[in-house]
């Protein structure tokens, strides 16, 4: 489980410091702090970034919106972002609103508000709303990661690290090469959201990352994954083997 990397675009040092403090306190990584549009773009492409906090006004110009517009144009490059603003000026909002999905946070903000805004930004960006704050689910699944709410902050697990997933009622056990943890999500939801070519059901309550399969022993109904994890293969779900490129 990794911390979330947050890029801060804020020209007021005082506020960026406060933001950094809040984020670090809540186990977020700060990918960098940019004070202007150019720095922001540079950092955005150089560093790993999961979420961006953007101040609408940089040096009195609405460059924050320009930045959001820029990253929005590039397909698959955009990341969840939160606007910071001290003004509820309608005109600015009308422009900012066009950079969908749009979430913002009014200054002044407290710790809870910042964390809430980050969570909302992720939910909206991946179009899986009302997840982190409900009691039924705590994970948002993007195309390459799981965003998991842990206590007050978000954590991230790369999908490619996952070996397999074991479902137990409303919970899922995620087993990676390094660790094993529990997330709150239903089987139907998780199987809907995961790439069906990569994650395959091998059993009623088991989903396996096909990239991690080392060996399939049909005689014993066993799948052996990386790190010598043995998984049962149920007869009902054997069909997937036909789709695989089998080396003889």
């Amino acid at each position: 489980m990794d911390n979330i990397n947050v890029l801060i675009i804020e020209d007021t040092l005082e506020q960026s410091d406060e933001l950094v403090k809040v984020l670090l306190d809540n186990n977020y990584n700060v990918a960098g702090v940019a004070a202007n549009y150019t720095d922001a773009l540079k950092l955005f492409y150089e560093k790993p970034v999961d979420i961006i906090i953007i101040d609408v006004f940089l040096d009195g110009k609405p460059d924050g919106i320009t930045f959001a517009e820029s990253i929005n144009i590039i397909p698959h490059a955009s990341k969840p972002f939160v606007f910071l603003t001290s003004s509820q000026d309608r005109q600015i909002f009308e422009r900012a609103k066009l950079t969908r999905p749009f979430s913002f946070l009014m200054k002044p903000f407290n710790e809870l508000e910042i964390l809430y805004a980050l969570e909302m930004a992720v939910e909206k960006f991946y179009e899986q709303t009302n997840v982190f704050l409900s009691e039924e689910q705590n994970t948002v699944i993007s195309n390459d990661s799981l965003f998991i709410k842990k206590k007050n902050s978000l954590k991230k697990v790369a999908l490619e690290d996952i070996l397999y997933i074991e479902v137990e009622e409303r919970y899922c056990n995620i087993i990676t090469e390094k660790e094993k943890f529990v997330i709150l999500i239903s089987l139907t939801k998780i199987s809907d959201l995961l790439d069906k070519n990569k994650f395959i059901k091998t059993h009623r309550n088991t989903i396996v990352n096909t990239d991690k399969i080392e060996e399939i022993i049909l005689a014993d109904n066993l799948i052996i994954l990386k790190g010598n994890h043995k998984i049962n293969l149920s007869d009902t779900y054997k069909d997937f083997i036909k789709k695989m490129n089998i080396l003889s």
Partner: protein
């Protein structure tokens, strides 16, 4: 001598002929009137008969010709021919008259009249033998009188015809027959004629002895009439008789008498002409009067019309005026209403400004004082006091900030500049976020805060306006709570669409009037009471408007010294 006698005869023959037209027409006219009704559709026939009755001969000729050209009805054709024949006789065109009268069929009701007219025309054309044939035809009929024909006249004419043909015996016979009838009827004029005729008859035969008594009888008769012409003729005849006798003295006397009668006749003619002229003049006068009256009438009409139209015009102007006035009054009222509202709003704004500036002034002043105290305390190194002062400063700053924040939002809301975007909002988190800022204040007053909102409630509202509402309500709750009080946020899902949010405190509460005042739907802010803890009322006003904008409701339940319940409802996320 003979020439004179012949001349006399001519004079006399004319008389009965003229007389006839008066007597026979009465009966004919009646029949014509009936026929007119019968042939109502034949316009030309009615016209012709009308003109005939009125003795307008030329018009009769024209109309009857038109009728003949159009219609082939035999009966009507007979009438028309009759009209034409008669008219021609009257116009002295006897040949044409005979032609027309001969065209009439023998079935014609007044065929005897036709014969009579044919006879008359023949006499005028001096075709006495033919005339005799026509008159004899009439003589044979028995019902002569019914057609307005007098047998005496027929006899007279027959006599005259024979006279002209020098058949004196027959002439005498007929004339005496006529005389016989006329003496019974005592028709003076005809009697006069017949006397003359008989006298002439004898005179031509040189039977002077027999002739003279008849001349004298005629002369005597003439004295009884007023007709100057008859008198003149009688006198003239007498004078001729006396002249022939050689009695010139008497002849002269009669000649003079005749001249006198002639003058009288001329005079009478003049008088008649004058009378006629006067009549014409009178008619012209009358015509003029009529014209004048007509013109007057027209003038009157025109005047009346002008009056009428001007009345309508005036009425229209009046209506328009009234309408415009009503509009003006209405506009005035609207303007007055708007003015009052504007005044009210302006008053609200003024009040707000004064309150806000007062509040701001006092808080900043308090901060100033506190700061100078702080520096003084710092010099004295009284650290316990220092901490207290800092907390105090921060609370003053917080209050001022929230005041300014409300003011900003209120202004944005009033100018419709506020960004408003409804989205799914996690109620529990929002309450936590709001509480976070008030933690020091709650701690300061030792108030327990409880967020008992279910974590599964999502409202569909604008996040920032919801925060403003909660912030203000929590602020109020803390303000009006005593130390060690309790504030609870809770939520009930009332139905599938709405969720109730209740903010409850155990503070001083408020009375019904205050609640009423707070819930009053108006632009005016609640009046500031004398108590220092009652604020501008701006906060609650803002709350109400924000809740309304979020399609929510707002209610207050309170009990004095027990606490207040603020009950809000908001739409849920579906």
């Amino acid at each position: 001598m003979l020439i004179i006698r012949f001349f006399l005869n001519l004079l006399i023959v004319c008389s009965p002929f003229l007389l006839f037209s008066q007597s026979s027409n009465k009966q004919l006219n009646e029949v014509l009137k009936k026929k007119e009704i019968e042939f109502k559709n034949e316009l030309n026939f009615s016209k012709a008969s009308n003109f005939f009755i009125k003795k307008n001969w030329d018009s009769t000729l024209v109309s009857s010709m038109k009728q003949l050209n159009i219609n082939k009805n035999k009966e009507l054709a007979d009438y028309c021919h009759f009209f034409r024949g008669y008219s021609f006789i009257e116009k002295k065109l006897f040949k044409e008259a005979k032609f027309e009268l001969n065209l009439i069929s023998k079935k014609f009701t007044f065929y005897s009249l036709v014969n009579k007219n044919l006879g008359d025309a023949s006499i005028e054309l001096k075709e006495f033998e033919k005339a005799i044939i026509y008159f004899k035809k009439i003589e044979k009929l028995k019902s002569l009188n019914q057609q307005g024909l007098k047998i005496s006249l027929i006899y007279q004419n027959l006599g005259i015809c024979h006279l002209h043909l020098n058949d004196f015996i027959k002439a005498e016979e007929y004339l005496f027959k006529s005389l016989e009838i006329l003496e019974i009827e005592k028709d003076i004029i005809n009697l006069f004629c017949i006397y003359n005729d008989i006298a002439n008859l004898y005179y031509i035969q040189y039977k002077d002895q027999q002739a003279i008594p008849y001349f004298e009888k005629a002369y005597d008769l003439s004295k009884k009439t007023v007709d100057f012409d008859i008198k003149r003729k009688a006198s003239l005849n007498m004078s001729v008789v006396e002249e022939n006798k050689g009695n010139f003295k008497k002849a002269l006397f009669y000649r003079k008498e005749s001249a006198q009668w002639k003058d009288s006749l001329n005079n009478q003619s003049k008088i008649w002409a004058l009378a006629d002229y006067e009549k014409k003049f009178a008619v012209a006068q009358k015509q003029k009067q009529i014209k004048v009256l007509e013109v007057e009438n027209e003038l009157k009409n025109a005047q009346r019309n002008t009056l009428f139209f001007s009345a309508i015009g005036l009425l229209l102007i009046l209506t328009g005026g009234v309408y415009l006035y009503a509009q003006k009054v209405k506009n005035g009222k609207t303007i007055l209403r708007q003015k009052n509202k504007l005044d009210e709003l302006n008053a609200t704004k003024d009040q707000l400004f004064s309150i806000v500036s007062h509040d701001l002034r006092s808080s900043v002043n308090a901060l100033k004082n506190s700061n100078s105290k702080l520096s003084a305390t710092l010099e004295n190194k009284n650290y316990d006091e220092l901490n207290h002062l800092i907390i105090q400063n921060s609370s003053i700053a917080n209050g001022t900030y929230s005041l300014l924040d409300n003011l900003l939002h209120w202004a944005l809301l009033q100018t419709k500049q506020l960004y408003f975007h409804k989205e799914s909002v996690h109620l529990y988190s929002v309450v936590q976020q709001i509480e976070y800022n008030y933690k020091p204040l709650l701690l300061d007053k030792s108030i327990t805060f409880e967020n008992s909102v279910s974590k599964n409630i999502f409202l569909f509202v604008d996040l920032d306006s919801l925060k403003i509402v909660f912030r203000n309500l929590l602020d109020n709750a803390i303000k009006f709570s005593n130390e060690n009080g309790q504030i609870t946020f809770s939520a009930n899902e009332t139905d599938s669409d709405f969720c109730q949010v209740i903010i409850q405190d155990t503070g001083i509460g408020m009375n019904e009037n205050t609640i009423k005042e707070l819930l009053y739907e108006g632009e005016l802010l609640a009046k500031k009471g004398n108590s220092e803890i009652i604020g501008t009322g701006l906060g609650l006003q803002l709350c109400k408007q924000m809740i309304k904008k979020n399609s929510g409701t707002f209610n207050i339940e309170s009990e004095l010294n027990k606490g207040t319940k603020m009950i809000l409802t908001f739409p849920k996320t579906k």
